[in-house]
């Protein structure tokens, strides 16, 4: 026990002496500031991102030869940094083995609550340029309606169609 206390005392003294020597030495060191610069760069590309208010339209029940007025809105917002043209196309309406043409979907930039006025949607691959320019941060509303053929070509069923809305810039 006595030996351990003596060793501890020696270690303590040694540390104190080293600290006393080191402290003045560090204070004499001249820390020169060394600077360099980094040039960072980033390219923000032009884009015209399409943001849609909704990705589902339910036209409800439409009898043969009936229609859903051109009044179902989809808001297209250009979240990008440049203006763009709005392009449209779609697929044929399909229900199992039954179908009817994409052109039975009618669209316009204004609503027609009374009926299906406007432009016929074109088949996928035949994209239609609406010639409507949507500015950066601006939104445009597209209204969709649909026509159902007579019963000869239009058996009962739940039909679906995919409409593609594209901002081109």
């Amino acid at each position: 026990m006595k030996v351990q206390k003596q060793r501890l005392a020696i270690i303590t003294v040694t540390i104190c002496i080293l600290a006393g020597l080191l402290a003045p030495s560090l204070s004499n060191i001249a820390f020169a500031l060394s600077q360099n610069s980094v040039t960072a760069s980033v390219v923000v590309p032009t884009n015209c991102i399409t943001q849609l208010s909704n990705t589902l339209i339910n036209f409800g029940v439409i009898n043969p030869l009936g229609n859903a007025p051109t009044a179902n809105a989809v808001l297209d917002t250009n979240e990008g940094n440049v203006a763009a043209f709005i392009l449209l196309d779609g697929t044929n309406w399909v229900s199992g083995g039954n179908s009817f043409p994409v052109t039975n979907t009618i669209w316009d930039f204004s609503t027609h609550a009374g009926g299906v006025s406007g432009n016929a949607l074109q088949l996928l691959g035949a994209v239609t340029n609406t010639a409507n320019i949507i500015g950066s941060g601006v939104n445009n509303i597209l209204y969709f309606g649909a026509l159902v053929n007579n019963g000869i070509t239009q058996p009962a069923g739940t039909y679906t169609q995919t409409i593609t809305i594209e901002n081109e810039c």
């Binding site: 820390f31 036209f59 649909a146 009962a156 739940t158 809305i165």
Partner: protein
Amino acid sequence: MAMTNIKQCIALLALSITIAAALIVPELGGIAFANYSNTVTATLNVPAICTVALSTTLVNFGSVPITGNAPTANAVGDTNDGNIASNILLDGTNWISGGSNFFVSNTIWDFTTHAGGVKGNTLGLATGNLVDTQNVIGIGQLVNLFFGTQVPSQQAAGTYTQTITIENLC
């Protein structure tokens, strides 16, 4: 010695960042950001239904003297534009002209024309129970109904009207 190492490390780091930036910039510049598209899924439900589309909603029998008739030859085309077949049902109202009238049953109908007279079936009174003609009209099919009428004796002069109801039931 330690300070020298730190300086070398900083210099090396700066060089690395510069090289990385030099590589990234042309890479981004080469990307073509052009078209952005999104899709909307549209749905609609076409119900099983039979419809009635009539070729005309007016039949003018012209001037018919008392005890005379208009032959069963005035056509009304009934088209079922629905997607299932149906039966054709019929009824009508009595003929009325002001306070005068005569019976609905004076109207005669058939699925074939009878230019020579009033042959066929008598129209039943509209009571909410239309008469089933037992004639099936298919999907997209056109069926012609021919109407005629006969005027009773001692019928007061006047312009009489009647409403005929044609229903496709499915």
